[in-house]
C-alpha cells in the first residue's frame, strides 16, 4: 500500500518548516508529526534548508545601540515559565491541541450532527478556515460527497476507511474539491479526527457536509 498518501506532501512540510503555512494547517501537520518519525526527520532537513537560505542573505548590520540595550537587559530577563504547576494533560492528546482540549475529548461540548457524527468547533483561522473535531461512532459513516474547498484531516483516535484505503491514528489526509469519498469509521471503536476546512463558512468538512443546512436540504 502506498503510505505516502497518509503524510503531508513535501511542499506542505516545507511551508510548515518555513513558517508560511496557515496556522490551521500547521496545527494538522504538528498533530501528525507527533506520530510520524519519518516526517520529523524530513522536517529537520527542511529546517536546515531554511537555515542555509537565511545564511545566504546579505547580512544587515545591527547597531551598537541595539546590542548595548540587549546586553544591558540580560540580567533582568526571566523566562516566561508559568508559575503555577503545569496542568497534567492526557498524553494521548497532541500537544498542539492542548490549547483547545485540556481535559480529554470526552469533556468537550460535542454537538450532534447526525446519528453517526458529533462535532465541536475549536476555532477559526485568519484565512477563514474552520478548525473542528469530529467524532464518528463505531461503524458510522458520512454519505458520499464532494467538497468545495480543501480539507485537512488528522486521525487522533480510532480509524476509518474510504474508497482509497484505511486510515489510522496519526494519518494525515488531504482531500480537494474533486475528491468523492465515503468515510466509514471501523467497527471496533469510535473515531476522532481533527479537521480543517478551507474557504468560506458554507464550505463544509470531511464528515461535516451534513452540518450545512442548505446542503442537507439538497440545494448544493
Amino acid at each position: 500500500m502506498d503510505r505516502s498518501s497518509n503524510h503531508p506532501a513535501y511542499e506542505l512540510l516545507a511551508a510548515y518548516s518555513a513558517g508560511s503555512l496557515p496556522l490551521s494547517q500547521a496545527l494538522c501537520v504538528s498533530a501528525h508529526l507527533e506520530h510520524c518519525h519519518s516526517c520529523t526527520r524530513q522536517l529537520q532537513r527542511l529546517n536546515r534548508v531554511g537555515s542555509e537560505l537565511m545564511q545566504q542573505l546579505k547580512p544587515a548590520k545591527a547597531s551598537n545601540d541595539l546590542k548595548n540595550r540587549l546586553l544591558d537587559s540580560l540580567d533582568s530577563l526571566t523566562d516566561e515559565a508559568p508559575a503555577e504547576q503545569p496542568k497534567r494533560f492526557d498524553p494521548s492528546i497532541p500537544r498542539c491541541l492542548h490549547q483547545f482540549v485540556d481535559q480529554g475529548y470526552a469533556e468537550l461540548p460535542w454537538k450532534r450532527v447526525s446519528t453517526d457524527i458529533h462535532s465541536v468547533e475549536l476555532c477559526r483561522d485568519n484565512n477563514g478556515a474552520k478548525v473542528e473535531l469530529l467524532k464518528i461512532r463505531p461503524g458510522g459513516s458520512a454519505t458520499t460527497h464532494t467538497h468545495l474547498g480543501d480539507e485537512y484531516t488528522v486521525i487522533l483516535e480510532g480509524s476509518f476507511s474510504d474508497e482509497s484505503g484505511l486510515y489510522k491514528q496519526g494519518d494525515f489526509v488531504v482531500k480537494d474539491a474533486r475528491d468523492r469519498h465515503t468515510p466509514v469509521a471501523t467497527q471496533d471503536r469510535e473515531c476522532i479526527c481533527l479537521a480543517v476546512t478551507e474557504g468560506p463558512i458554507q464550505f463544509t468538512g470531511f464528515f461535516s457536509r451534513l452540518l450545512n443546512p442548505l446542503i442537507r436540504r439538497g440545494y448544493a
Binding site: S20, K61, A62
Partner: protein
C-alpha cells in the same frame, strides 16, 4: 576564496559559535553572548527585512526577541538535535510568527506556541549526526546550482514568508506550479526522506 576553504572556514566558525553558546548556557557569559550577537543579529535582521523591506524597527525587534530567547534557552539548546545555525533559524521563524500574530497582521485564534517543538523532536542518531555537516555543505552547494525559477519559490516561501497561494499570485503562476517547483527544488537539494 575556494569553495573548499569557504566550507572549512564556515564549519570552524560554527565550532567557535558552538563554544559560545555553551559558555552562555553554563557560565552566563556575556562576552560569549556578544559574539553570538555579532554573528547572528545581522542575519536575523536580513531575514526580517526579506519579508518587510525597509522595516528596520521590526527587524530590530526580531533580533531582540530571538537573542533574548537565545539567552534564556541556551541551556536547552542541544547540539546533537540541531546545529546552531538551524536552531537560530527555527527561533527566528517562531519569533516572526509570534510577532505577526501579536501585531494583528496575523489574526488567528490559534496560538502558535505549541505548534513548533523543534528542539524536542527526536534527534538524529550518531550516524546521522556524522552526516549532518556534510549534508549542510551539500545543501549549500545545491542552493547555488538551483535553477532561478526554483530558488525564487524557495525564497518566497522561506525568507519572505509567503504562503503557496501568495507566491502563486506574486509570481503569476498557477498554484500547482508553485508547489511542484518547491518539490523539484527539494529533490535537487537531495533533502527528501524516503517514506
Amino acid at each position: 576564496m575556494t569553495a573548499m576553504s569557504n566550507r572549512q572556514s564556515s564549519s570552524e566558525k560554527l565550532i567557535a559559535l558552538g563554544a559560545c553558546i555553551s559558555r552562555v548556557a553554563k557560565e552566563r557569559d556575556k562576552s560569549a553572548f556578544a559574539e553570538l550577537f555579532d554573528h547572528y543579529a545581522p542575519q536575523i535582521r536580513a531575514y526580517s527585512l526579506a519579508r518587510e523591506p525597509g522595516a528596520d524597527l521590526v527587524a530590530d525587534e526580531l533580533v531582540q526577541e530571538v537573542m533574548t530567547r537565545v539567552w534564556l534557552k541556551a541551556e536547552k539548546y542541544n547540539a546533537s538535535l540541531a546545529n546552531l545555525n538551524t536552531w537560530i533559524f527555527t527561533l527566528a521563524r517562531n519569533c516572526r510568527i509570534d510577532y505577526l500574530r501579536r501585531n494583528g497582521r496575523y489574526v488567528s485564534e490559534i496560538d502558535p506556541t505549541d505548534l513548533f517543538n523543534d528542539m524536542e523532536d527526536e534527534g538524529p542518531g550518531p550516524f546521522q549526526l556524522a552526516q549532518q555537516s556534510r549534508a549542510e555543505a551539500s545543501i549549500r552547494e545545491g542552493l547555488r546550482q538551483l535553477p532561478r525559477e526554483q530558488s525564487e519559490v524557495l525564497t518566497k516561501v522561506y525568507l519572505e514568508g509567503k504562503s503557496h497561494q501568495q507566491a502563486s499570485e506574486e509570481l503569476k503562476l498557477p498554484l500547482g506550479t508553485v508547489k511542484s517547483r518547491v518539490r523539484l527544488a527539494l529533490k535537487k537539494l537531495e533533502v527528501l526522506v524516503e517514506r
